[in-house]
């Protein structure tokens, strides 16, 4: 996927002035937050479950090679082929190679964010094959000329029912519908034909289970079950960090994932897929492949932000992020938006191309307190800010400004003098209304807000005067 993260500010401006999008975002946000809160109450001890979830994910990261080795061995034993992709280009090459090997003409896909990283759908089409997304949200985006996803769980959440109705009417040539259920049935009817005629299913993977060599898929629409068992070939693609040791660990994480994500106690469908169809088995593909993708993951593992790899892609951080809630996912300019995207995007595409993202956070830590695997997101954003500062990626005037301010702040006498002058000037600027309408240099503030004028004397000078006035009695 093309990276547009360096244009975050301009895109955010555009999105904040898009009235329809703003209405869609508002509706969605309230639902996610309220549903999550309601479902969390069901857990006896949310914090203890989070601890367990974080510990499982951290245990994997602490010995990733070991767990990957165990997964590979068990998956092969069950008849699957395990392949490794170092780069996004490798992912596409491997998928196309598999498709050619099995004379594939049509591929159906179950939502995979990793495949968005490499723009797999475009590669498939460029190779002369057809591809159909089966997750309803992904399908909507695909038929809308591959509009990029705006959310990792609900990729088309930025669209209203009316927009989808209009799109279906235009693309399917069917009468326009205005009931959500009817729209779903229409998509179901279209997709059903593709399930029956596809030669290969490509899925992501919520978890790869080391002890069994299985892939676990979490969906609400049942599309994963059809897409991975009807065609003769199934390819599951996921990042190398998605390993979990045991099925019991999956059970623990599944207490957290749907609740954190959509506020459901449990998802509608959970597929645990292990190897191709065996002798005497009715369901399943004839050939099963796993593609385990690095694409920058080992670099994160060796970095200061390694905890980001614990992520189980629930989307809670973005659902609860005040910035995401107001600018939407497209502003972030790549596959992963919101707080987790502000870490992953710079790490995957380069800090120089995405340094705005970790900066574009109030560090309110609402993401940190909802994250089901305790990723300290603001701390990681700060680490990337430090790297940007150290690498000289911030503008010279910002660096110089901090240096100058800190130089004064370390010299109390000079600082006192400068601040006395400063607050008097600002008080005068405030005039009778006691608000400053326009600040030089800090236009970023006064473009949208006034600055309440200061009192005109600093606390420290007033305090000193008071101490002197109260005499030696104190």
């Amino acid at each position: 996927m093309q990276v547009a993260s360096m244009h975050f500010k301009a895109r955010a401006h555009e999105k904040m002035n898009d009235a329809l999008l703003q209405a869609n975002l508002k509706k969605m946000q309230g639902k996610f937050v309220a549903n999550r809160r309601a479902s969390m109450v069901e857990l006896d001890d949310f914090e203890a479950t989070r601890d367990a979830g974080a510990a499982i994910r951290q245990r994997v990261l602490d010995d990733l090679d070991g767990w990957l080795g165990m997964f590979e061995e068990n998956a092969r034993r069950r008849g699957a082929t395990v392949l490794w992709a170092e780069t996004p280009a490798d992912v596409n090459a491997l998928v196309l190679e598999i498709a050619r090997r099995h004379d594939v003409r049509k591929i159906i896909k179950v939502k995979s964010m990793v495949s968005e990283e490499s723009a797999l759908d475009h590669a498939i089409e460029a190779a002369g094959m057809s591809v159909v997304e089966t997750d309803l949200g992904e399908y909507i985006l695909q038929i809308n000329d591959y509009e990029p996803p705006s959310h990792i769980v609900g990729p088309a959440l930025h669209k209203s029912k009316e927009e989808v109705a209009e799109l279906f009417h235009r693309k399917h040539g069917t009468p326009k519908k205005d009931v959500v259920e009817d729209l779903c049935l229409e998509a179901r009817g279209v997709l059903r034909q593709h399930y029956l005629t596809a030669d290969m299913g490509v899925s992501g993977g919520n978890f790869f289970v080391a002890e069994t060599g299985s892939v676990v898929l979490v969906t609400n629409e049942g599309n994963a079950t059809l897409a991975t068992t009807l065609p003769k070939v199934h390819v599951a693609i996921s990042g190398i960090e998605k390993i979990v040791p045991t099925l019991e660990d999956v059970a623990t994480l599944m207490r957290l994932l749907p609740r954190s994500s959509t506020g459901q106690s449990i998802c509608n469908y959970l597929d645990v897929l292990t190897g191709p169809k065996g002798e005497g088995e009715f369901h399943g593909p004839e050939h099963m492949y796993f593609i385990l993708v690095d694409s920058g993951r080992t670099a994160i593992l060796d970095s200061e932000v390694r905890e980001a790899l614990r992520c189980i892609r629930c989307g809670a951080c973005m659902n609860h992020c005040p910035v995401y809630q107001n600018v939407g996912g497209h502003a972030y300019g790549w596959v992963y938006p919101g707080p987790i995207g502000s870490i992953l995007t710079p790490m995957y595409v380069g800090l120089d191309k995405a340094q705005e993202l970790p900066a574009a956070s109030t560090m309110c830590n609402q993401c940190g307190v909802v994250c089901p695997v305790r990723i300290p997101l603001p701390d990681l954003q700060r680490k990337l800010r430090e790297q940007a500062f150290e690498q000289g990626l911030r503008p010279w005037y910002e660096r110089a400004g901090f240096r100058a301010w800190a130089w004064f702040a370390r010299r109390p006498a000079l600082y006192a003098l400068a601040s006395r002058v400063g607050v008097r000037v600002m008080k005068a600027m405030g005039g009778r209304d006691r608000v400053i309408r326009r600040l030089p240099v800090f236009g970023g503030w006064t473009d949208g807000r006034d600055m309440p004028a200061p009192a005109g004397r600093t606390f420290r000078e007033l305090y000193r005067a008071r101490q002197a006035g109260s005499g030696a009695g104190r």
Binding site: N326, M363, C364, P412, D447, L462
Partner: protein, 246 residues
């Protein structure tokens, strides 16, 4: 009990009345308050902007100024949160300094939680005739556990009625230098907050951090609301009115 009072740079510069209100509350609660005269800033703006070297220099200065006190108390969840949560991490490679940072962190408090949880204060000098709504500032809430304490104290103020607004825990959009670097987004978040305040019908918005106060009040005035007052919780509890110049 010797309490070192950390005024914070924003209170020092922008609203000294908050500092005097907090002093009054601490003294009324029985604390012997010491105000280190050389104090300036905790270093958080540098820290959050990636300027670690300057953050370390200022952290060292604060530690030296306050480590002799039994407590460090600040009229801010954000600055006290910086000291309690982040100082030790700045000295990861310097064991003696790290130990000193941890010792200071352990005795660092935000003022309302210090009054309730340490001094066990149950009477306050303030009086307020009207309805207020309370905004939970992010660092106070999520780093310092400040939620019930200010409400418990406000409930003791004669004449004061608390009317909770929608989403009191949602960030106002200040975020330190974020408010300037991403001014448009910051102002939008502040605008959302102003709408919730207005919908609550309260006469005043009360909160515990200067940065958030300036942000919300700035947006409120730009929206044309010149009536709703924006007050620091210490001002309300102490009955100190913010009169410019005094």
């Amino acid at each position: 009990m010797r309490v070192g009072f950390f005024v914070t740079c924003l209170v020092d510069l922008m609203r000294p009345s908050v500092g005097f209100a907090a002093l009054k509350l601490l003294e009324a609660g029985g604390a012997e308050v010491y105000v280190p005269p050389s104090q300036t800033c905790c270093g958080q703006p540098a820290f959050n902007s990636g300027d670690r070297a300057d953050a370390i220099a200022l952290a060292r200065k604060v530690i030296e100024e306050f480590e002799g006190c039994d407590y460090l108390v600040a009229p801010s969840g954000s600055c006290s949160g910086m000291i309690r949560t982040h100082y030790a991490g700045l000295f990861a490679d310097d064991a003696p300094m790290k130990a000193r940072a941890e010792a200071l962190a352990a005795k660092t408090w935000e003022v309302t939680s210090f009054l309730v949880d340490v001094l066990k204060v149950d009477r306050v000098p303030g009086r307020f005739d009207g309805t207020i709504t309370y905004h939970d500032c992010c660092a106070g809430l999520r780093e310092m556990g400040v939620k019930a304490q200010p409400r418990a104290l406000l409930a003791r103020v004669p004449g004061l009625r608390l009317k909770e607004m929608a989403e009191p825990e949602t960030c106002c959009g200040f975020g330190g230098t974020f408010s300037i670097k991403f001014g448009e987004i910051s102002a939008r978040l502040a605008d959302n907050k102003c709408q919730h305040v207005a919908a609550s019908g309260a006469d005043a918005l009360v909160l515990g951090d200067l940065g958030c106060m300036l942000n919300i009040e700035g947006r409120m005035r730009r929206r044309g609301d010149t009536k709703t007052r924006v007050l620091h919780v210490a001002e309300v509890l102490a009955g100190e009115r913010p009169e410019p110049g005094e």
